[in-house]
Each structure stands twice: as structure tokens, then as C-alpha cells.
Symmetry: C2
Subunit: 314 residues, 2 copies
């Protein structure tokens, strides 16, 4: 039913290619563009291989060839955005690159066409101010890879139209992602702030010699992460006291306040990073990193399939 | 092969009963005691029901009746610890209660018998100093429920023998838990420090009106939590840069340092807690909390079964 509607994917590295799959499997025609000829040449091969993985994990039952056929690769940005109602932009993350592509998109798209940037940290106000259609631009930040991890953060610039946010959120839900709406731009958005405080604390515990890297990892992978793979921190604590979240807060907020480091940790120190890298490389040589990433993605896709079967997806 | 070796479970509420299941399903005879007659009367019924859940999730294929038959309930602490080589203590978490039960255990156990306390926050040095066998006491902190979430934190007091820690860690591995060793006592141990910083940030984001409670939860449940259900934060970032953890740190440590709040957040404020409780209660009335907990445990056990099938357990 979406076959007659088109979406452009601009910037088609790992993130952009993942987006192409997301939209194509939901039935949209996807028009992909990347400035690099090498990247353009690899898009369809990558999409075919990734689709195979999705089918094996039981995540796609639609005709693979039909999904692939919905993705077309274009040699110019202007051609890619022809006739689309939405552009997902995933170019290299610098203010310069984001500004340049936003201005180029701004002149190429028609009125009312929405543009979501995959930016993981730079807010849209830093690169869309000069666009005449800036009310239609917002951050639409996925977790890598977007075709496996469904959450997306939608972050409006001060000049983004609320109705543009509504339409993007509706599109994301329709294609099977889980949109999270931020009311304003903040450093790191929500997801990386949550990841950041946990990482900062993990580094500080490791620096203080409290536990090994592997043991700190185990407290998440075999502890907190089990619940967090299907419920967030608020629902978790809501279920962990007889009277719910208020009861939990009454019992434990002072304990959690007492654990805060004063002053907050400095950036992870060089010497500690070297020590951590040694521990990780003893566990996993650098040459095996990409195999392990493939292992992770295979596990991720089975986990997503499991969550779907259990009715735990968004 | 463990049938001739016994373990005592002292304090048999939800945590202690979970421990009884952990040890009994691994083949140990479990001698359970609780000061409350009502609690004692409920242990075997709870264990039978929970075993049924484990069987349905494909987590136990051993004879259920044989597992149940390994749990005996005793009317005194002295009787429960007769002939055991390990005691898992899970009484109410106050310094007074922990001190009283530790002193009672200290006189009742033979030399070399190990005692692990399920304490989630109070370190062993606050309640075992006066014990003559204090070298054999340590914190063995599970996540609730211990028969589903495998991680345990082993935290020695300054006077705990290193060999006692080694023996407890070996026992935990043998019964299918994942032991994490702390080198020293710190407030909140590792697991609750990691949970604490994430909760503090989540509350602050909510207080600032950046996103709704449900949306903050979604960034974990449909985002970060997917990876974290099978790999910790260090392995996660090690896989997220071409050159591994060092490369990731070089690229992103300044960004993460820039997200730290200065000063650190105050304890979650009353007004914010009330607002959060209203949102949660609109989602889930207080009367439905316990049904939702049963739902969570059913999902948890299926998740654990899934992780087992995928070779992702410790």
C-alpha cells in the first residue's frame, strides 16, 4: 500500500543502508544516494545479505526480492529526492558536512517534505538555521543498526514545526520503529545521556580497581540488562517496591543520592583507557572485532525476533 | 553428585526462597529456615509453583519432584545449619537484623563454613566484625529473583579470607550463577552504582521535562537494553569503533564528559516523584502491580531460556 510513496536515504554508509532496509521492508520505495561511488556500489549487496540474516532470524517473511526491488540507487542527491515525502539524512557527523547537505537538500526538496537527520549528537539548530524549509528539519537519531534496534529519538530544533514532529513520529511507528520525542535539544539527547552516565561510572569503578572490566560488564549482561531488554528503568523500579514507584523512591532515593561521586568524574584518563584496551584485546584481538560485530548482530536479530514473539516490541 | 552436600538458606522470603531453588536445582540439599512461621509454611508451595514456571520456560528438565524433595524446612536456625558447608543469609536488611543473625550463625556453624549475605547495600564490615569466624563471611548479593537473574556480587569485608571468596565464587559458578568479584566494599557495590547513575539521570531528564517517563523508558527497553541483555557497556563500546575501546574513547570521551551535570543531581524531589507516580498509575493501577510482576517474571524466564539457547549465559 506504500508502494507508490517514496523516501530518500541520503548518506548510505552503515546507518543509511540500515534505514533503506527499514523503509523498504515496510513497503516504501527507497531512493538511496551517497557521494561515494564505492559506497553506492555496495548498498544493494549489503541490503541483500542483511535481508538474508533477517529472514533467517524470522524477522522478515515478505518476499526478499520484492523488498530489494524497492531500493534504487542514484548518482545525485537531486535525483534521489525526486518525488519523496521524507528524507533520512545520514552523512558524516560534522557540523560542516551536516550544514552542506542540509542546504543542498533545502534547495532540492519540495515544500512540506520532511528531513530527519541521523545525527547522534549535533542538534539540528547547529546546521539547519539557514534553510528556508527549516521548519521541516529535525533530528531522527537511530541506534545502530536501525533495522535491528527500533528506538529513534526525534529532536526538534527551536524552529521545527510541531506538526513535522508528529508526522515523523507517525512515520516511524508505521515502519516499525519506536519513536521517542524530546521536547528540546540537549547535549547527547536522552539515549546517550543515559549511556553516558553509566559509562562514566563504569570507567570510574574500573579506574578505582573495584572490579575487572569483564566483571563490570557481567553486572549488566547477566544482571541489569535482562530486565532492561524489555522494560525501562522507571517501569523496573515501579515493579520493585510493594507500593510502586513512589514507595521505591521513599525507600531508596537517599541511597542512590549517596552514591553520586563528588566531584563528577573527569574524562576517562589515558592510562586507564590503555589498561582497559589491554584487557579487551586479551579477550578479543583487534583482528577479530568485525567477526564479533557480526556475532553481535546475529544475536541482536535473534533477540529482536524473540521479543516480537513475546509481544515485547513497541 | 551434590546430593550428599547441604546448604542452609536463612531468611526465606522472596530472595531466600529463590536461593533455595538455585541450590536445589543444582543438586544440593537445601535446609531452609525463617523466623516467621507463615513464611516457613509458604516456602515449598512457592518453590513448587516457581519450578512449574521454570519447566514451562524450558529452564529445568530435571525431575521437579526430586528438586523439591531436596528442600527441607526447619524450625530453628541451629537445626538448619547442621552439617552444611555454606549458608546463604537473606534476612531483613537492617544493620541490627544482619548483626543479630550473623552472631547467631557464628556460634551455630562449624569452622570453615562459609556465610554469604544477600545484603544489597550494607557491607559485611558493618555486621560481622564481632564474629569469631568473620574471615568466612562475605556479601553475596543477588538480583531479584536469583533463580532467574544469574549475576551475584561477592564483596569481601576487610577481614574476609581471599580463599573464602574463591570458594564462594566457585560455588556460584557451579550452581549456574555468574559471580562478580569486588576488591573492596563501596556504597551500592557495582550493580546498584550502575543502576543508580542511570536512575539519577533518568529522573533529572524527567524533572527537566525533556521527555515523558514512557519515552525515557523506551530508550532503554527498545534501545540500549537490547545490547545490554547480552553484553556489558565495555564490550558494547569496544565493538562500536573501528579500532575498539581505545578508538571509541578517543572519539567520544569528551562528548561523554560534557554531558555530566554540574553539580550532580539532588535526591529525586518530592514533586517530581508525585508526577512520575501519577504517570505510572495512569499506565498501571496499583492493584495491577503484582500481576505485572508475574508478567515480568514470565518474560524474564523466557528471556533467560532464550539466552541459554543462544549460548549467551555466563
Amino acid at each position: 500500500m506504500n508502494k507508490n510513496r517514496s523516501i530518500a536515504v541520503v548518506g548510505a554508509g552503515l546507518v543509511g543502508s540500515g534505514w533503506a532496509l527499514v523503509f523498504a521492508r515496510a513497503g516504501y520505495s527507497v531512493r538511496a544516494y551517497d557521494p561515494s561511488e564505492t559506497v553506492r556500489a555496495g548498498i544493494l549487496t549489503w541490503a541483500r545479505d542483511s535481508l538474508n540474516d533477517l529472514v533467517q532470524a524470522g524477522l522478515v517473511d515478505d518476499d526478499q526480492l520484492a523488498i530489494l526491488a524497492r531500493i534504487s540507487v542514484h548518482e545525485t542527491l537531486a535525483e534521489a529526492v525526486e518525488g519523496v515525502f521524507y528524507v533520512q539524512e545520514s552523512v558524516f557527523e560534522t557540523v560542516e558536512a551536516k550544514t552542506a547537505v542540509s542546504l543542498e537538500l533545502d534547495t532540492a526538496i519540495g515544500e512540506g517534505v520532511l528531513v530527519g537527520s541521523s545525527s547522534s549528537g549535533i542538534p539540528a539548530s547547529q546546521f539547519t538555521e539557514a534553510c528556508k524549509n527549516r521548519a521541516c528539519f529535525a533530528i531522527v537519531h537511530p541506534v545502530n543498526p536501525p533495522h535491528l534496534v527500533p528506538v529513534v529519538e526525534i529532536v526538534p530544533a527551536p524552529w521545527t514545526e510541531p506538526s513535522a514532529v508528529d508526522r515523523i513520529a507517525a512515520l516511524m511507528e508505521e515502519v516499525g520503529q519506536v519513536p521517542v520525542r524530546l521536547t528540546q535539544e540537549i547535549n547527547g539527547f536522552v539515549l546517550n545521556r543515559l549511556q553516558g552516565v553509566l559509562l562514566n561510572e563504569a570507567w570510574a569503578l574500573y579506574e578505582d580497581g573495584i572490579a575487572s572490566l569483564a566483571d563490570i560488564d557481567a553486572t549488566i549482561a547477566h544482571g541489569l540488562g535482562l530486565r532492561w531488554s524489555f522494560m525501562g528503568p522507571f517501569e523496573t523500579i515501579d515493579l520493585n517496591a510493594p507500593g510502586g514507584i513512589e514507595d521505591y523512591a521513599a525507600r531508596l532515593r537517599d541511597l542512590y543520592a549517596s552514591m553520586v561521586r563528588t566531584p563528577p568524574p573527569e574524562p576517562w584518563p589515558d592510562a586507564v583507557i590503555s589498561r582497559a584496551a589491554e584487557e579487551r584485546r586479551a579477550e578479543l584481538p583487534l583482528a577479530d572485532l568485525s567477526d564479533r560485530r557480526a556475532w553481535r548482530d546475529a544475536r541482536l536479530s535473534r533477540l529482536v525476533a524473540f521479543k516480537k514473539n513475546q509481544g515485547l516490541m513497541g
